[in-house]
């Protein structure tokens, strides 16, 4: 069997009492691509991830993961799925190697392949010389690398990364991006949730902008920018009165603006205002479409 779409969510809804965490979400992830779910905390990204592993059951909608229907066939899907959670759930009293070993059993790696799977995991996490170190002695970046490596011991076809670089230093984030890039180059399908614009821009083939449980736009990062924010943006700095003036002027000309505290970015034009020109980016698109800052 072969499915074009590794993930196919249609009209998915999840409510928790009065709160609707996911509100009619449609997500399609073609096999072999990397899709980024970009949205602030509370947008419904983690809830969506949990629905893909069957740990949260949707109230409405259709969910297909690797061709399997959720939640009924979630076990089959999970056998071919790798999940790196947002919060660290490593066994802290065990060593690096023991953590990988336990998961080779949980993910049913055949006995004769276990050693090789652990070796691959250690290589991926670059922790070969720390295989016998207890996890509670590792740094944050090392733990995150181990967390990712642990989810790959069984060579999954699809990998879910929930905020993979949150809370890490910039240089460690770069390392992790290289790791994720390597996965992409091997043709693994990836669904990654993040609230870092740069991460989405760098790693995702397609970005899905999420806000309040819905997808408000989706497309390749460059296409999204071109479509919604134009190629360049004028950033005008000034005091609150001046910024308000600029916003009014722009509105009169039919241009969208985006306020960032000390400046106003006028989108869709490269002159007519006294400001700095800079390339439009995904953050502009995000703010424009959702009306909220992502930080």
């Amino acid at each position: 069997m072969s499915s074009e779409l590794a993930i196919d969510l249609r009209g998915v809804v999840k409510r928790y009492g009065p709160i609707t965490a996911v509100d009619g979400l449609d997500v399609q992830v073609p096999a072999g691509t990397c899709v980024g779910l970009l949205g602030p905390n509370g947008a419904g990204k983690s809830t969506t991830m949990r629905m893909l592993t069957g740990q949260t059951i949707a109230d409405e909608g259709e969910l297909d993961v690797l061709g399997f229907k959720m939640p009924g066939e979630s076990k089959q899907a999970r056998a071919q799925l790798g999940v790196t959670p947002q919060l660290d759930n490593l066994d802290v009293t065990l060593t690096v190697e023991q953590n990988l070993l336990v998961f080779t059993y949980l993910y049913r790696v055949p006995r004769k392949e276990r050693k090789a799977a652990i070796a691959r995991g250690l290589e991926l996490a670059r922790l070969e010389d720390r295989r016998d170190t207890r996890v509670d002695k590792l740094s944050g970046g090392m733990r995150r690398r181990l967390l990712i490596a642990r989810s790959l011991v069984h060579r999954p076809r699809l990998v879910l990364l929930d905020e993979p670089t949150v809370g890490l230093d910039p240089q460690i984030r770069q390392e992790l991006w290289a790791l994720i890039d390597r996965l992409r180059s091997e043709g693994t399908t990836i669904l990654m949730s993040t609230h870092y614009i740069e991460e989405a821009q760098r790693l995702a083939d397609t970005v899905l902008i999420m806000s309040h449980g819905k997808a408000v736009a989706s497309g390749a990062p460059v296409d999204l920018v071109a479509e919604h924010a134009g190629s360049e943006v004028l950033e005008v700095y000034g005091g609150p009165a001046r910024l308000a003036e600029v916003e009014a002027e722009a509105a009169a000309k039919g241009l969208s603006t985006r306020r960032t505290g000390t400046s106003v970015a006028v989108l869709g034009t490269s002159d007519g205002f006294d400001g700095e020109r800079r390339p439009a980016n995904l953050e502009d698109v995000f703010v424009l479409l959702t009306g909220e800052e992502i930080g």
Binding site: M1, S2, S3, Y16, A31, G32, R50, T53, G54, Q55, T56, I57, K75, Q76, R78, A79, Q80, L81, V83, P85, L87, D88, N89, L90, D91, V92, T93, L94, Q98, L101, V102, F103, Y105, L106, Y107, R108, A116, R120, E123, L124, S151, L152, R155, P156, R157, V159, R182, L183, E186, G187, T188, T189
Partner: protein, 273 residues
């Protein structure tokens, strides 16, 4: 054979066999996790599971043993030695199940990691209960062995004791998991320990027989699985097994099955939303 260092397997025909409930590999995976973890704290677990009941045995056995020489037809040291097997079973099953489960859920988010793999909640609960039962089966025998050093005569029927301890340990382990499954915070456990476990372990025939207690206490004893465990262990140790013991085994099995399903229900409610 070319070494394959790819991290992903993008063949679309890979591994699409049907999966079902209670699969050996899933439960084995959970057991491996328990065993590997156990190797890092087995010393403290063994110490507390053996020293604590032994202290009860020695204190009551010799403390009371100096006041009463025979109870229930047996030397008091032997009476208590066989009774504290049930104490050891309870301490090595209900308590680790309650606290271990809660800590894994709340603080370590271990269950999230396991459930992201092809393991379902019922397999997870069952595997953990089987492991706890095995520990109870082993540690439960310690008081009896200690009693043998104080003169309890060995008998072939004593080989039934680890099995009885295992069966009771399975039930009490599931009980602990159930409590952890329903508990909102670790403070809730004090209620269970004080209001349920402590009375049950005292009204079980462990340190004194039930036949001189008021009627209501005797009735409580009859529905107390720990009491059946105590009686079974005593009857095995003293070689007086009878048909009523078969009924007691049945009672322990019924207890085990019912509380096992309840534990699964409690954990599913907690883990899947």
């Amino acid at each position: 054979m070319v070494s394959d260092t790819r991290w992903s397997d993008t063949r679309s025909d890979a591994r699409t066999q049907r999966l079902h409930r209670f699969e050996r590999p899933a439960m084995a995976g959970v057991l491996v996790r328990e065993i590997v973890n156990f190797s890092s704290y087995w010393r403290s677990a063994t110490f507390s599971s053996t020293v604590e009941p032994t202290i009860y045995l020695l204190a009551f056995g010799f403390g009371f043993g100096s006041l009463v020489s025979r109870v229930g037809g047996y030397k008091y040291v032997e009476f208590v030695g066989t009774g504290t097997v049930a104490t050891a079973v309870l301490f090595s099953s209900a308590f680790p199940a309650m606290f271990g489960t809660f800590v894994k859920y709340q603080f370590q988010r271990t269950y999230d990691a396991i459930l992201a793999a092809p393991v379902d909640t019922e397999e997870l609960v069952t595997a953990e209960a089987l492991w706890i039962a095995t520990r109870a089966g082993v540690y439960g025998c310690v008081p009896m062995i200690v009693a043998m050093f104080f003169g309890l005569p060995p008998r072939w029927e004593m080989f039934a004791v680890p099995l009885i301890a295992w069966l009771a340990g399975f039930g009490w382990g599931c009980f602990g998991i159930t409590v952890a499954g329903f508990a909102k915070s670790i403070e809730n456990f004090s209620y269970v320990v004080s209001a349920v476990l402590t009375p049950l372990f005292l009204v079980a025939g462990t340190f004194f027989p039930l036949n001189k207690l008021p009627k209501w206490a005797q009735v409580l004893g009859e529905i107390n699985p720990l009491h059946h465990c105590v009686q079974l262990v005593r009857d095995s140790a003293f070689g007086v097994l009878g048909w009523v013991d078969l009924a007691r085994v049945g009672a322990l099995m019924l207890f085990g099955v019912l509380i096992w399903r309840l534990a699964i229900f409690a954990m599913q409610r907690k883990l899947i939303d």
